[in-house]
Amino acid sequence: MVEARGIVRRFGSFTALDGVNFDVRPGEIHALLGENGAGKSTLMNVLSGLLRPSAGELFLEGQPVRFASPADATARGVGMVHQHFLLVPSLSVGENLLLGASARLGGPWSYPLRSVLGEAKALAEQLGWKLPWDALAGSLSVGVQQRIEILKALRGGAKLLLFDEPTSVLTPTETPELFDVIRRLAQEGRGVVFISHKLDEVLSLADRITVLRRGKVVASFARSEADEALLATAMVGEESEAARMLAIPLRSAPQPPVMGEPEGEVPPNLEDRGQKYSQGEPRLTVTELTLNTSGGKPALDRVSLCVAAGEILGIAGVDGNGQTELAECLTGLKLPSSGTITIENQKPTPTPAGFLAAGVTSVPADRQRRGLALSMTLTENLALGTFSDARFRKGPFLSWSALRERTREAIARFDIRAEGPGATAGSLSGGNQQKVVLARALADSPKVIIAVNPTRGLDVGAIAFVHQALRQAQSGGAAILLISTELDEVLALSGRIGVLFEGRLTPASDTSRSALGRLMGGVL
C-alpha cells in the first residue's frame, strides 16, 4: 500500500534517517519501535508529508509520490494522529473537524460545517463513540480529544493511518479501548503505522515490527518471531546497560500489565525489590494537601505523604493526574488550598525562595522553560539557584568569580560537555542541559529533592547518568520525591511507590507492574 525506499533525511549536518526501507500492507498494523531520537517521528513526518526526504522515494499503491504538504498527503489518503494533539482549544469540536476537512467540500468562502459533522457523526457511530460536538475542544478530556484527532485523520476516507505514540497520554484503561479501535480500522482494510517505544504495546498490537536505531532500520520481525528481549536488544543495541534495565522489569511481568491479568505472578514486597533505604528521620511531610482549580474538580485531593532522609519515594501515574501541581506545591510555585507541608517539622515560607531556603531543590519537568534560561550562560544558570545565598553575595552584588569557580566544579563533577562556564545553556544537548539542572539541584547537599520526569527525552547514556546521580544523592542522605510517568524509572529507583490518579495519591502495597498499572488507571 505504501512503501518507502532508501529514505534519507538530514537536518543540517545531522542525519536523522539514513537509507530507511519501510512498507505497510492493507489491513496490517505495522509497529515502528525505537528510542527517543531514533528517527521514528522523522519517518512519520516524511510519510505524512510534513517533511520532504533528502533522498529516497515514496510509493503509494505502487506509484511514486511526492507529498507537497500534509494536506496533499491527506488528500491522497494518508491520515495522521499526532502525539501532541493539533486541536485548537478555543474552537468547538465541529470547527476543529471543519478546519481539517478536505477542500473538495467547498472553497475558502464556504462553511460546510453540517456535511463535515454529518460525515464525522456517521464515522463516530460506526466506532461506537458519542462525542460532544458543540463543546470547546480545550474543555474535553485527553481521551476524547484523541478520538477527535482520529476522526480528523479518517476524514475523506484515509487508507493509511499513522499513530504517533498514541498511548503516551492515555490511562491504562483507555489504552485497550484505543487498541480495539486500531484493530477495527485495520480490519476494514486500512494500513496502520503505530509508533511506540513501549515493547509490551507493540507486541500486543502489531502484525509486524520494525526497529529503528540512530536513523537506520536495525531489525524487522513478524510478531510471531519477536519477544521482548529480542526487541529490547534491537532497540538499544547489544550489551548496553539500558537494554538490561529495560528488559529486566519486563521479564518479571511477561504479560503487558494493562492488557489482562498477570499469570500467577508473586507480588514482590519492598524487600524483594532489593531496594535499600535508610529509616532516617522524616524530611518532607505532606498532610491532606488539596489544590482546588477554577474548573471545580481539585487538581490535588487530600494528598498525604512522607519522605525520609536517604529515601526515594516514587510517584507513578499518567500525565495530567496532578503531577505538575504536586511538584509546584512542593516547590512553592503554587499555594495549596488546604493542607500542610513541612520540611523537618518546619513550615517553609510559601514561596519558591522560601522552599529553597528550607533546603528543597527541584528538577523541573520542563527543563527548557522552568529549568533553564537557555539564552544565559552556564554560570548564570547555576547562579539562579543560589540567588539569595549569602556565600555568593558581596553586599548587593553577586560574586561572579566564586560563581564561575563553582560552575567549573560542576562541569567537572557532572561531566557537562560544554565549551566552558561562559557557554549558553541553549548551546548544549538535551542530556547536558539536564546535567546542568541536576548540578544545580544537587549542588549543596539539599535536604529534599523534587524530581519530575528527570529523564524525559534523554538518550540512554544520559538516563543512566541521571539515575546514578539521584542514587548518589540518596545515599548522601537526601530525601527524594521522584514523580515520573515512566513506570520503569519509578520501579528502578524507588523504595516505596505511590500512584497519582485524578489528584489522589494511593500508596502501592503491591508494586508489581500489573498492580501499579491498575492503580494508574484508577482501579483500586
Binding site: 543540517g12 516547590t331 512553592g332 510555585l333 514561596t351 519558591p352 525562595a353 522560601g354 522552599f355 529553597l356 531556603a357 527541584s362 523541573p364 520542563d366 522553560r369 522552568r370 529549568g371 533553564l372 534560561a373 537557555l374 539564552s375 544565559m376 548564570e380 544558570n381 547562579a383 539562579l384 539557584g385 540567588f387 539569595s388 553575595r393 548587593p396 552584588f397 553577586l398 561572579w400
Partner: protein
C-alpha cells in the same frame, strides 16, 4: 558572512534613503553635507549634538533596562514628560540654593517612576499589557503637559502656554562656553556606568536579566517575579523621568506645550541599536543625537527636517534585517 550581511543592509538602507530624498526633490549629497556640518561643523554644533545625546542616553537606558527584562515599556516619552512637569514644578519654587537642582532631578525621577510604575501595577495586578498601557500613558502625559502650561504651571504673565523660567540655582551649569552643553552630560555618563555595573554585577540586575531570559526558570529559582518586574518599571521610569528633568534644568529652563520632540520614541531605536547594552546606548545615542542636531540644518538642503525620522526608521529596518541575516548565517 556577517560583514557581507552588514554591507548589504547598509547598502539597501542607503538606497531607500536616497530614493526618498530624491523624490522629495533634494540632493542626497547636499543633505548629507548639511547633516554633517549641522552635527559637527563648529564648536557650537558639536555642543548641540551632545545636548541632543543626553536625553537619548537617559531614555535609551530606560528602554534598554525594561527590554532586558522583556517588558515592552514603550512609554519613555510619557515618563520623560512627567519628569519634566515635576522638575518644573520644583524648579520654579524658592528653595535653598545648594539642594535646588538635586531636588528638581529627584522630583523628575520620582514622577517618571510613578508614571511607569502605574503601567507596572496595571500589568501585575490587572493583567493589562504594558505595550498598551505605556502607550496610552504617553498620550495622557502629552495632554497633561498641555494642561499644566495653561493651568497650574502657566507663567505669571499668563500670555503663552508655557511655565515661568527656572530659578538660577535649579539650572545645570554650562560646561563649554559658547555652546549649550551643560553638566547633565556628566550625569548621563555616570548613569550609563551605573546601569552597566548594575546589570553585570548586582544581584538585582541579574534577577532582572533572568526574568527577561526565562520568567519560568527565574520564578522556579526563587527570584520574586512581581517584585523584579515592578522594580524594573520603576527604575526604567526613573531614568526616563530624569531625562525630562535634565532637559528642563539644562536646556530649556521652562516647560512648554509639545515639550518633547519624541526622545522617548527615538530611545527605542537607540536601545535596539545598542543591542540593549548600556555602553552601546552611549554610542547609539551619540549617533542619533548627531542626526537630530544635524537634522535642524538639512532644511538648507531643501528638505524637511523630519527626514531624520525616515533615516531613523531605515536604520531600524536595516538593523532588523541584519539581525535576521546574522541569525540565519549563524545557523547554516
Amino acid at each position: 558572512m556577517k560583514l557581507w550581511a552588514l554591507i548589504l543592509c547598509v547598502g539597501v538602507g542607503l538606497f531607500f534613503l536616497c530614493a526618498v530624498i530624491l523624490l522629495a526633490g533634494a540632493s542626497p549629497l547636499a543633505v548629507g553635507a548639511a547633516l554633517w556640518s549641522g552635527a559637527f561643523g563648529s564648536r557650537y554644533d558639536v555642543g548641540e549634538t551632545l545636548v541632543q545625546t543626553i536625553p537619548l542616553v537617559l531614555t535609551g537606558l530606560a528602554v534598554a533596562l525594561s527590554f532586558r527584562a522583556r517588558l515592552m515599556n514603550i512609554g519613555a516619552e510619557g515618563q520623560l514628560l512627567l519628569g519634566a512637569i515635576a522638575a518644573t514644578g520644583v524648579g520654579v519654587l524658592k528653595l535653598p540654593a545648594p539642594i535646588h537642582l538635586p531636588l528638581c532631578l529627584l522630583a523628575g525621577a520620582l514622577a517618571g517612576a510613578l508614571w511607569s510604575g502605574l503601567a507596572g501595577a496595571l500589568k501585575l495586578w490587572r493583567g493589562v499589557q504594558e505595550v498598551l498601557s505605556t502607550l496610552l500613558l504617553n498620550f495622557i502625559a502629552v495632554q497633561l503637559v498641555a494642561w499644566v502650561v495653561r493651568g497650574p504651571l502657566q507663567e505669571a504673565a499668563r500670555q503663552f502656554p508655557q511655565s515661568d523660567r527656572l530659578l538660577t540655582p535649579a539650572k545645570f551649569v554650562v560646561l563649554l562656553p559658547g555652546t549649550r552643553l551643560h553638566a547633565g552630560v556628566l550625569l548621563a555618563l555616570i548613569l550609563t556606568l551605573i546601569v552597566w555595573a548594575f546589570l553585570k554585577y548586582a544581584a538585582a540586575g541579574f534577577a532582572l536579566r533572568a526574568v527577561g531570559a526565562s520568567p519560568e526558570a527565574a520564578e522556579a529559582s526563587g527570584i520574586p517575579l512581581k517584585r523584579t518586574m515592578l522594580t524594573t518599571f520603576l527604575l526604567s521610569g526613573a531614568l526616563a523621568g530624569l531625562a525630562g528633568a535634565v532637559q528642563i534644568c539644562g536646556v530649556t529652563y521652562l516647560l512648554a506645550d509639545k515639550y518633547s520632540p519624541g526622545y522617548g520614541y527615538t530611545a527605542i531605536a537607540v536601545a535596539l541599536m545598542a543591542n540593549l547594552s548600556a555602553p552601546g546606548v552611549l554610542l547609539s545615542a551619540l549617533l542619533f543625537g548627531a542626526l537630530t542636531a544635524g537634522g535642524s540644518s538639512v532644511q538648507q538642503a531643501g528638505i524637511s527636517s523630519v527626514v531624520i525620522q525616515v533615516l531613523q526608521a531605515i536604520v531600524l529596518f536595516a538593523l532588523l534585517a541584519y539581525g535576521w541575516l546574522a541569525r540565519r548565517g549563524g545557523r547554516a
